[in-house]
């Protein structure tokens, strides 16, 4: 009897052990089945995977109170208590989606973002290096994107009817006071920062976050790379100089140094230039970067850059070509940027930075000496975190202090100095609120106090994005933007108010794997632009205004044609403004109505060579002819440029790079300069502003030495 009982007991135990069946269906909140979800009885091996329709069923030997966990990527984990007995359980599980970077609508649709992972990005980090005509200059590559106007004689980014100074560069969130190197008058300058330093580039042509101040038209936000992954030495032998860089990497940190010498003299000796050089440009540059991970999530970055450059040339008077004057410029540039970021807890992080810029321009105009110095310090702290999984908040404060002076040491006349000291204190707050992966609203404001004009301002910024389909979305943004008047204005009148712009942007984007279509329309209103009273450049006031409006088109395709990657940009711009010496509203000389760029890249596998071809076309720009009654009534011929580059990889660690701009040698004219006084017959003489030479040819050999010989410098070019 006892035995019978034992056997019965054990049998019953087994029977019970093997018998609870759990079944049901996993769906999203709309009732669509989710296949592949993981259904788990917590702390046991028991569970299953949902089938193609989201249905599941499994048996378990567990008993009593248990926890059923259902999870699937892109959805919040669902946990529920279940009581397991002898009766089968049927459960319906609706998973709530998580706001997920890859699926969610993007609020940054108004910008072109290039990241390392290059997933949902329209523009890739490597594009900067491989766009023909850009000669590895960040601004040069971005100039092929819609919203920008080609202004060939400056090399700067002119965005949506704004002039070059209205685009500001930020490195790790810190404002860069002068992002471009020096160049002779009417010759393009290059960006001071090399593309290889950055893991991410975000170029916004309007409607950007409240985090960014002091930019009227556009923001170029660059994220510097984290610690280097491997120790390497890079050597570059260029037709215009040489550079050597070394990177030492260790676990969690790295230090890198680079020395670069550029001398364009031998090149100018070979190729005739439009400019009458006394000494063509030469520069020496040293760069240092230090990176260290601190703790689990902290990161410290220090970056420093020193550059010394000089050149001298003779300006020929328009009235009389034989009448020359010397222009001699020596520039010293120092930039130091320290950055720190760490997690405070699971939901909040803090980042902060301190940057210093020192710029000194020592100019000789014949026997007159002008020394311009600008020193700036920027300190900033930003807290970022989430209030819930649907609300993200960002808040920060910053101080920018600038000391500027321009000292004139004149051969004839009284020496004098123009100077100003400005302190900008600002704070901003911004929240991203998601209702689902389909809709997000960003709202924020930026408050600023300017010590120079003693004005306090608040700028609101709002943007909304809605996903209209699986791969398409619409986006709207509005905001007001403010920027202190230019140095050359403030040094004359330091009480000038900041200039102001308002942006209204509507954007539609369709994006699937390797194909992107983007359409944009915008309206922009300018106020408080600096204007000359009675056409006198010494009587400045904030009486100017203007507008810009336009439509833009962007199409990128890396799918339709094998091994070919291309994009086509078109921008239409209608803009007028009344500022500076303008007698009434007129189209400024940097604005062109139609801008087109076609960029193609083709990899020829058997030749191990990437060929890039870029074609740019811009309709004529206005210029002011004092011989006619209409202000800015002249129009230059159209601008066109066909540039080609080749990158050849003979060995995994060697790259040979050849590029040539304006292959067809078109004589592009950017505008006309006029004599200040009329000649005997009462006519103002003129001279066209041309390219310094029809073509620019560049040859470089780049060698990388590392333990792993398959590494090369391609991404850094």
């Amino acid at each position: 009897m006892k035995l019978l009982f034992t056997v019965f007991f054990l049998l019953m135990l087994h029977a019970v052990v093997a018998q609870t069946t759990l079944s049901g269906k996993v769906t999203d909140t709309k009732g669509e089945g989710i296949p592949g979800a993981n259904i788990t009885l917590a702390n046991t091996y028991d569970g299953t995977t949902s089938d193609a329709n989201g249905n599941f069923s499994f048996t378990t030997s567990e008993q009593g109170q248990q926890t059923l966990v259902v999870s699937f990527i892109g959805f919040k984990e669902n946990r529920r208590a279940v009581t397991l007995g002898t009766t089968p359980l049927v459960v319906a599980i609706a998973l709530e989606e998580t706001i997920n970077e890859l699926e969610a609508v993007t609020i940054t649709a108004g910008s072109f973002t290039a990241g390392d992972a290059s997933r949902r990005t329209v523009f890739k980090a490597i594009d900067i290096a491989t766009t023909a005509g850009a000669t590895a200059d960040i601004a040069g590559a971005l100039n092929t994107l819609p919203g920008t106007q080609k202004v060939g004689e400056t090399g700067r980014l002119f965005v949506r009817g704004g002039d070059g100074s209205e685009t500001r560069t930020f490195i790790d969130g810190m404002l860069v006071l002068d992002a471009y190197g020096t160049s002779a008058p009417n010759t393009p300058s290059r960006g001071r920062f090399l593309p290889f330093m950055f893991k991410g580039t975000s170029f916004s042509t309007g409607g950007y976050s409240a985090e960014y101040g002091q930019a009227l038209s556009s923001v170029l936000a660059l994220d510097s790379k984290d610690e280097a992954e491997m120790t390497r030495t890079d050597i570059g032998i260029l037709s215009v100089g040489a550079d050597v860089a070394h990177t030492q990497a260790w676990d969690g940190g790295s230090v890198a140094g680079k020395v670069q010498y550029t001398n364009i003299r031998p090149y100018y000796g070979l190729i005739n230039q439009e400019i009458d050089w006394k000494t063509p440009p030469a520069s020496i540059e040293g760069i240092g970067a230090f990176r260290q991970r601190v703790g689990k999530q902290g990161m410290v970055k220090v970056y420093g850059n020193y550059n010394h450059s000089d050149f001298a040339l003779y300006n020929h008077a328009i009235e009389d070509h034989s009448n020359t004057s010397l222009y001699d410029l020596t520039n010293d540039y120092r930039y130091l940027n320290g950055f720190y970021k760490t997690m405070l807890n699971e939901k909040w992080n803090v980042r902060g930075g301190l940057s210093y810029t020192g710029i000194k321009n020592n100019t000789w105009l014949n026997d007159d000496n002008i020394v311009e110095t600008q020193k700036g310090v920027h300190a900033k702290t930003v807290f970022e975190g989430s209030l819930s999984d649907k609300v993200e908040v960002k808040a920060g404060a910053e101080v920018i202090q600038r000391n500027y002076d321009q000292a004139f040491d004149l051969k004839v006349g009284q020496d004098y100095t123009l100077s100003f000291n400005e302190t900008l204190s600002s704070a901003f707050v911004e929240a991203d609120v998601y209702t689902s992966n389909k809709f997000v609203m960003q709202g924020g404001a930026r408050a600023e106090y300017n010590s120079l004009n003693q004005k306090f301002s608040v700028d609101p910024r709002v943007s909304l994005a809605y996903k209209t389909g699986k791969i398409s979305q619409v986006y709207f943004a509005y905001g007001t933007f403010r920027q202190a008047a230019k140095n050359e204005m403030l040094r004359v009148n330091s009480t000038l108010s900041s200039e102001k712009a308002e942006h209204f942007i509507l954007n539609y984007q369709v994006m699937e794997n390797n194909r992107t279509l983007r359409l944009q329309a915008y309206y922009k209103r300018y106020n408080d632009l600096v204007k000359y009273r009675n056409a006198d450049p010494l009587q400045l006031y904030n009486g100017g205004d203007g507008y810009a409006q336009g439509v833009e088109f962007f199409w990128r395709d890396y799918k339709s044609i094998k091994n070919v990657d291309y994009w086509l940009s078109y921008s239409f711009l209608d803009t007028k403004r009344n500022y500076l010496d303008f007698p009434q509203r007129a189209v400024p000389t940097f604005a062109s109505a139609h801008n087109v760029s076609l960029v193609t890249k083709y990899f020829v596998t058997p030749l191990k060579t990437q060929v890039g071809v870029t074609y740019s076309y811009t309709t004529g720009r206005p210029y002011n002819n004092p011989n006619t009654a209409v202000f800015n009534g002249g129009k230059t011929p159209y601008y066109a440029d066909l540039s080609v580059n080749l990158s050849y990889l003979p060995k995994p660690y060697i790259i040979v790079h050849v590029s040539c701009t304006n292959v067809l040698g078109r004589d592009n004219i950017f505008g006309y300069e006029y004599a200040t006084t009329p000649d005997a017959s009462g006519v103002y003489g003129s001279r066209a502003i041309r390219q310094p030479a029809p073509r620019f040819l560049f040859v470089g050999i780049f060698i990388t030495l590392s333990k792993d010989k398959s590494t090369n410098q391609l991404p850094t070019l």
């Binding site: 569970g47 995977t49 191990k608 060995k651 995994p652």
Partner: protein, 230 residues
């Protein structure tokens, strides 16, 4: 379960008039498989799923296995193998997926799972080699853009894995694969790659698994490359 079921049938056929001794034996016979099943449950379940991850061909099948492995890993808490094989399973899924974005998604999950394994087993040659394998598959999503960065990272991981355990044939086979691809692209000699491959094949012969659950994959891939090296 099968063993205990057989036991029941044996028991039910027994005559009821038996001694106390038999009583105890019976109890032990029935109960022991229960307890021994509990201690071996991990190895048994793992072996079954490792076999599945090695042989399954479709993404759906692999997803099922990977889910099971993650369940085991979550329940066990201290074992690195479930996450290692879950990660391997995701790499296999990425391998079979054609859509770039989905491929990236699987590789993200492979990385997440491998990070869990890494946290439990630091400085492991097998984990490091698999990390390199993930980088290697990343390249295939967009070779023109990613080739440089990820092939560098992959090669670096393979070197690190070999340094951690020079006897690891998988690290050598993957490194050989990488070197072969690079040599082929540049039209240079495949001598170095085939040298690494031969070393790898030798190590496959002498490799002694430290446990029943130690990784065993990669030989097929090495044999495939051997054909090209001839």
């Amino acid at each position: 379960m099968k063993t205990s079921m057989n036991l029941h049938s044996t028991v039910s056929k027994q005559n009821i008039s038996v001694s106390r001794f038999l009583h105890i034996v019976l109890f032990l016979l029935v109960a022991l498989p229960l307890s021994s099943r509990a201690t071996d449950k991990y190895t048994e379940a793992m072996q079954k799923n490792i076999q599945a991850v090695y042989t399954q061909q479709t993404v759906a099948e692999l997803q099922n296995t990977v889910n099971t492995l993650e369940r085991i890993g979550t329940a066990e808490k201290s074992k690195w193998e479930p996450f290692y094989y879950a990660s391997f399973g995701y790499v296999m899924m990425a391998n079979r997926e054609k859509d770039g974005a989905k491929k990236d998604g699987y590789l993200d999950q492979a990385t997440t799972a491998l990070d869990k394994a890494k946290a439990l087993q630091q400085g492991d040659s097998e984990i490091t080699a698999l990390e390199g394998f993930i980088h290697m598959i990343r390249v295939t999503v967009d070779p023109a853009t990613r080739g440089q960065q990820y092939s560098g990272l992959a090669t670096q991981s393979f070197h690190k894995a070999v340094a951690l355990n020079p006897e690891n044939p998988r690290a050598l086979a993957l490194l050989a694969q990488m070197q072969y691809g690079t040599a082929q692209f540049f039209g240079s000699s495949t001598e170095e790659a085939c040298g690494t491959l031969n070393k790898s094949l030798e190590k496959f012969e002498t490799f002694k698994a430290t446990s029943e659950l130690a990784p065993q994959w990669g030989k097929g891939m090495a044999m495939g490359l051997k054909e090209k090296c001839k």
